[in-house]
Point group: C2
Chain length 176, copies 2
């Protein structure tokens, strides 16, 4: 329960170490990336045990959920939806296919593309996980407050939008 940041609560020496402290930066523990990371971890910690019991990782679950609402998708589109990078998705799909949770077949029109869909086993697995998952989500909503949750989501969306196209100033296509 006790959370102690970078506070040298030990001896009490004011500290004046070997080469420390010379670069003045915001308090590290309050940076936006850290806040987002901690918040997300706090949330995911609620779900991981349940998923684990069903033999699913967070990412595998994301993929199944993304597939559940559509008939079939191309890998690239699925990567966007499940917010996974191509290589990760490629590996995970290989495993999920081996477990018969998804199905894959190359598109007729374009042999490069492969269409991915959830299998019956996949649907069954989802059905067994969804109740617990929803219950956890409901508890989180109850604790934090439905309204605040909506507000938070809205702000997160705004943050995303306000940063869109800021760091992509190189690498690939100038336009996009």
């Amino acid at each position: 329960m006790t959370k102690k940041p970078a506070d040298p609560a030990n001896g009490g020496a004011p500290a004046a170490g070997p080469a420390a402290r010379q670069v003045p930066m915001r308090d590290f523990s309050r940076s936006l990336p850290m806040s987002l990371l901690r918040a997300r971890e706090a949330v995911m910690r609620q779900f991981r045990p349940s998923l684990r019991e069903h033999g699913l990782t967070e990412q595998q679950w994301r993929i199944l959920r993304a597939l559940a609402s559509i008939e079939a998708v191309e890998v690239t589109e699925l990567a966007r939806t499940a917010f996974l990078l191509g290589p990760s998705l490629s590996r995970i799909l290989r495993d999920l296919e081996a477990r018969n949770l998804i199905e894959r077949k190359t598109a007729k029109a374009d042999q490069r593309r492969s269409m991915v869909s959830i299998s019956k086993d996949g649907v069954k697995l989802m059905a067994s996980v969804a109740p617990t998952s929803e219950a956890i989500y409901a508890e989180i909503t109850r604790r934090f407050g439905a309204r605040k949750l909506a507000e938070l989501q809205e702000m997160l969306g705004e943050l995303e939008r306000s940063l869109a196209g800021l760091g992509a100033s190189e690498e690939a296509s100038p336009e996009e």
Copy 2:
């Protein structure tokens, strides 16, 4: 190269698959974990290029920043501060030590503990990265709005606190 799952521009879901949709769940793309993940990714995408130029990963940078404000810390305490799991930290410290960016020495009172501190080279490296990093943070703040940013951070903190002690067994994550 620009391979990023960043665009939630999925074109909706016609939906009506073979074995799909039977388990009614919230729209996957709007789940809290996904919102947090996307927001954090949007933010980190701004920083990664700069860090990379200096040969640092996001986690290595977190560690250096955590070390910059104190004389020395135990590994466990550092793990809490930098929000890293023990094993990850162990590996990263090994590498940072090999690069002479940090120093380590076992505590006299307790041979099990090792005290970690940033080295002169580490401080120098930080000094060369900090300006860019601060500039990026300033731009993010400008785009999103300082007030909204503070609000967001506050909400994230509340979310964290409201979920504290919900997961079955705590004591297993980098936070507490």
